[in-house]
């Protein structure tokens, strides 16, 4: 496949069948199949290349971004890496606000692509990063905060890209399962299917972190992304690090796919849907997102040793 430049190669990722993982669910001629959408094949290795590029293009169209501008973004990693790559190619400076409890690989990658990093306190996780970024935005009115949690272009990237790609590759799709962070993937893909194939069930997998991350000073500091519309999803599961690690290792062991830890959480929810379909004797084609590869999380200890020790080492980290 040939592209004019690196940015042009965003999207059109492979959808691969998972026969060994699916095998346990098919019985009596009723097939339940799992499919992985390999978003780690995007230019910087994560699904975030889609929204990052779309948000930049939209801001350029709207006249917000001009060469030499500074982009500011709260991010726990992947979006920042995607934005930094695109910013480098398009001539923008970028400042990322990142919780201090994110993996060293992500920080190093951001620096490599030329991003400047502002650390936000570990307690409060991404909430704090959002707050700190909003403060910097107020202090620097000339900086452009694309703000992935509230930017319609984030969801649009998936409505126009991820969704149609899935339907083209898997017309028999019955379920779509993705991680819930900014909610952009689920909102966009759901909007596409609600119109193109409304019976597709939209399932959210939300990472459940250690207590430190939920350590708000009061409940009113809670955060629901502006993009989130609960009517666009059918159900939502909270998945802890133990299940995420177990599943991410299973994906590697049975299907040879080396994914990031958040994908383990997504797979866990997808397997739940597969088990339900098998129990009800209904055929299902369940597509889920492999959000990124495991490379950036090697130092977290998730891939080696016992599940207990992996779970312990993820405590307090923003692993997804």
């Amino acid at each position: 496949m040939r592209f004019d430049n690196h940015l042009a190669s965003v999207g059109n990722t492979p959808l691969v069948g998972l026969p060994r993982l699916s095998d346990q669910f098919s019985r009596g001629g009723v097939e339940v199949r799992l499919w992985a959408k390999l978003e780690d094949r995007n230019p910087t290795g994560s699904i975030k290349d889609r929204p990052a590029l779309k948000m930049i293009e939209q801001a350029e169209k709207d006249g917000l971004l001009r060469p030499g501008c500074t982009i500011l973004e709260p991010t726990s990693g992947n979006t920042g890496i995607s934005l930094a790559m695109a910013a480098k190619l398009r001539g923008y400076r970028i400042v990322c606000v990142m919780p201090e409890n994110t993996s060293e690989e992500r920080r190093q990658l951001l620096r490599m692509w030329g991003a400047e990093i502002v650390s936000s306190p570990a307690a409060g996780g991404s909430n704090e990063a959002v707050r700190v970024a909003k403060r910097h935005a107020a202090e620097h009115p000339d900086w452009v905060m694309l703000y992935q949690y509230g930017n319609a272009a984030n969801a649009l990237a998936h409505e126009e890209g991820t969704g149609p790609e899935l339907l083209a590759d898997l017309p028999s799709i019955t379920h779509f399962v993705a991680g819930l962070g900014t909610t952009g993937t689920l909102m966009g893909v759901s909007r596409f299917f609600r119109s193109a194939k409304p019976d597709v069930r939209i399932v959210a997998a939300e990472p459940r972190y250690g207590e430190l991350v939920y350590g708000l000073r009061n409940l009113d500091e809670g955060f629901v992304p502006e993009l989130y519309d609960a009517s666009l999803i059918d159900t939502r599961f909270s998945v802890g690090p133990r299940d995420a690690v177990r599943r991410v290792r299973e994906l590697l062991e049975l299907e040879g796919i080396f994914a990031g830890i958040s994908t383990g959480a997504i797979l866990h929810a997808a397997l739940g849907q597969a088990a339900n379909a098998a129990r009800d004797g209904v055929a299902a084609d369940i597509a889920f997102v492999v959000a990124d590869g495991g490379w950036k999380y090697l130092s977290t200890g998730a891939y080696e040793g016992t599940i207990d020790s992996a779970e312990e080492s993820l405590e307090g980290q923003l692993w997804a």
Partner: protein, 92 residues
């Protein structure tokens, strides 16, 4: 009927510091009333105007209760209920 309810740090002032308490009730609304009877004040932190507060998430056996009928969601013996504040998360 015993249902284990996991309490987030921010609400443990109502449970004498306990991370997890036991409650009962056939629905989430009934369970919260039962919690209130033993941990006065907690109901007001969970419910506002007859609905779950915007920044409070409740999961029954890991599924978001808002997709199971909200306060009317049915509960049974042995269910595990987790209460968490809504936070920005995900691989973002």
């Amino acid at each position: 009927m015993a249902i284990e309810v996991r309490i987030p740090t921010i609400l443990r002032t109502y449970t004498a510091g306990e991370k997890s308490v036991s409650g009962s009730g056939g629905t989430l609304a009934a369970l919260i009333d039962d919690l209130e009877a033993n941990h006065a004040g907690i109901k007001d932190r969970l419910i506002d105007n007859g609905d779950l507060r915007r920044f409070v998430n409740v999961y029954v056996n890991d599924e978001d209760v808002r997709f199971l009928g909200g306060l009317g969601a049915e509960l049974k013996d042995g269910d595990q209920v987790v209460v968490l504040p809504a936070v920005a998360g995900g691989a973002s």
